[in-house]
């Protein structure tokens, strides 16, 4: 009989401490372009097809790392997540929402995060959780995380099964693909929504010519800069 009393006590103390912070979900919403009204974004499981103006594109895999999440008031950092490494996987609903635990009373105007894994972590010993090589985002033939992975099919690709594969990574200068994304916050009630407009990336790649990038280098660096441009907090539905 005493145990429930104790549990009640415990529950109330955790509740009290919870009141000094709030949870803001940081939601990643992969979508095709601004016209795409699907606020839910694309579901890779349904193997949705997207018309790239004239050609269809099927995206099978979309995975990337987000790290070093911070919130800014103009140029001042007001909050920083510790040990901030997240694997976002479009085929795993749960991974698309990152809960940020933020002290009450903190106001911010910008959300800033890195796309990929910093060079120090790339050369560290093996890590667990989202950084576990088991997640399939670590190169095996050489050291380094794959920061961004997109795989799919398009009739434009004259490859086996018309497949394209982009494994973007590399932490060495001058081909460091670690990119910083800084976006304005829109004070949405439900949290921070970040749309990923894949058209921004797919329209710059000539899939007939470039359909496989699996190593660090010039091309990977270029793609990483294009990927960065896909992220937006602003979705203008026409």
């Amino acid at each position: 009989m005493r145990i429930p009393i104790f549990l009640l006590l415990l529950a109330s103390t955790t509740l009290m401490s919870a009141q000094t912070t709030r949870i803001i979900p940081l939601r990643f919403i992969p979508t095709y372009d601004r016209n795409h009204t699907l606020t839910q974004g694309i579901h890779l499981q349904d193997s949705s097809f997207y018309s790239n103006d004239k050609d269809s594109i099927e995206i099978r895999t979309l995975k990337f790392y987000i790290s070093g999440i911070q919130l800014n008031m103009d140029s001042d950092v007001v909050w920083k997540e510790t040990n901030s490494y997240h694997l976002i996987d479009a085929s795993n609903e749960q991974s698309l929402s990152v809960p940020l635990t933020i002290p009450i009373g903190i106001d911010f105007k910008r959300i800033i995060f890195n796309l990929g894994i910093d060079s120090a972590t790339n050369v560290m010993g093996v890590q667990g959780g989202d950084l576990d090589p088991m997640r399939g985002m670590y190169w095996t033939w050489q050291s380094g995380y794959i920061n961004f992975k997109m795989e799919g099919n398009s009739p434009l690709c004259k490859t086996r099964h018309h497949a394209f594969e982009f494994h973007i990574g590399g932490y060495h200068c001058p081909y460091n693909t670690f990119q910083c994304v800084s976006l304005p916050d829109h004070k949405a009630k439900e949290g921070i929504n970040i749309y990923i407009l894949l058209k921004e990336l797919l329209s710059t790649i000539d899939l007939a010519r470039t359909n496989q990038i699996m190593t660090p280098g010039k091309e990977a660096l270029w793609i990483s800069k294009e990927v960065k441009k896909c992220f937006t907090t602003f979705l203008d539905v026409r």
Binding site: R2, F6, L9, V123, G125, P133, T140, Q142, S143
Partner: protein, 339 residues
């Protein structure tokens, strides 16, 4: 009363989270540099090392359970693939590089002939996933281990967690490899003043210091750098060496300087295993140097050695053979665990 329950709960929590494992200290031989490996991130313990040795010798790590790490890295030849210029892997596929000897890895700052791997923990991923070597993914390996009758218990003993992860698998393999320390050759006894060189060995040592030690730096017999030691390009392989990783032409044909410890038994030599005898290696350094833009400085002036002097250097190189390392029971196939 409430207080008492809280206290009890806390102690039992603390108790379950803490398991008494003997944390081992890694002993650095006198006069050796500080290891590059950060042991605080992966503290050695008897159970972890035992688990690592089981994994190292178990073919479960390969797709069809035919190849283990020890297939290519045999304990009897300083953990290299003796007599094979190229390592043989799964389905009898042949790789393009010679398997290096595995020893003193705690001091290495990079791995593979071209330094593709920056941390020992990540090394095992490469052969596991290589379609010509073990052809298996770490995810698949973890799932096989989890469903094996032996491993969940071994992982629990080692990490107090029977849920197997990639992190724990790789950390355990590292632990076993870190114990492969070779520091008891005749050379070491001489430095410790417990033995002395013969006249021939003394002369060989002098010549070695003058011609070779800038790259094969004592006491590890490597400076951990990438150098072009003037090997001619094998046009059938066209291995660019370090440049493959950096994509910088300044690194063309540079390879990691290998240690020369136990060199007597780790033939064939060089990244492509082109030489089978040390005599051929010495002839290369005196007469075989191919000049190119990236040829390392110490080799730009020709090395002149008489045939007697070459024999003396080889006699010295034989003093780097560490019998206690080559026949160490602790590194052998863990019969008690695997059978």
């Amino acid at each position: 009363m409430k207080k008492l329950i809280v206290l009890l709960l806390l102690t039992s929590l603390a108790f379950s989270a803490y398991k008494v494992t003997d944390i081992l200290r890694f002993i650095v031989p006198t006069g050796w540099p500080t290891p590059a490996y950060d042991f605080t991130q992966n503290p050695l313990s008897t159970d972890k090392i035992a688990l690592g040795s089981a994994l190292f010798y178990d073919a479960i790590l390969s797709r069809d359970s035919t190849i283990s790490c020890a297939t290519c890295h045999s304990p009897y030849s300083a953990f290299t693939h003796i007599d094979h210029p190229f390592s043989h892997g799964i389905d009898n596929k042949i790789g393009t590089r010679n398997a290096p000897a595995l020893m003193n890895l705690a001091w290495s700052t990079s791995f593979m002939w071209d330094g593709a791997i920056k941390h020992l923990d990540m090394q095992a991923l490469a052969p596991m996933s290589n379609p010509d070597e073990m052809d298996e993914s770490i995810k698949q390996v973890v799932s096989k281990l989890q469903h094996n009758k032996r491993y969940p218990i071994l992982f629990f003993k080692a990490f107090s967690d029977s849920t197997i992860t990639g992190e724990h698998t790789l950390k355990a393999i590292s632990q076993f490899m870190l114990t492969l320390v070779s520091c008891n050759a005749k050379y070491d006894s001489v430095l410790r003043k417990e033995a002395s060189f013969t006249e021939q060995e003394t002369n060989g040592y002098r010549l070695f210091r003058a011609n070779c030690a800038s790259c094969h730096k004592e006491p590890l017999f490597t400076n951990n750098q990438f150098e072009n030691n003037g090997l001619s390009v094998d046009t059938s392989l066209h291995d660019m060496g370090r440049m493959r990783i950096t994509q910088d032409s300044a690194n063309y044909l540079q390879f990691k300087v290998p240690s020369l410890r136990n060199i007597q038994f780790s033939y064939p030599y060089m990244h492509d295993g082109r030489f089978t005898r040390l005599q051929q290696v010495l002839n290369h350094y005196t007469n075989g140097i191919t000049r190119s833009k990236t040829l390392s400085k110490p080799l730009q002036e020709p090395i002149v050695l008489s045939s007697n002097e070459k024999v003396d250097i080889i006699a010295f190189l034989y003093t780097l053979t560490d019998k206690t390392f080559l026949n160490n029971e602790r590194f052998a196939y863990p019969k008690n665990i695997l059978q």
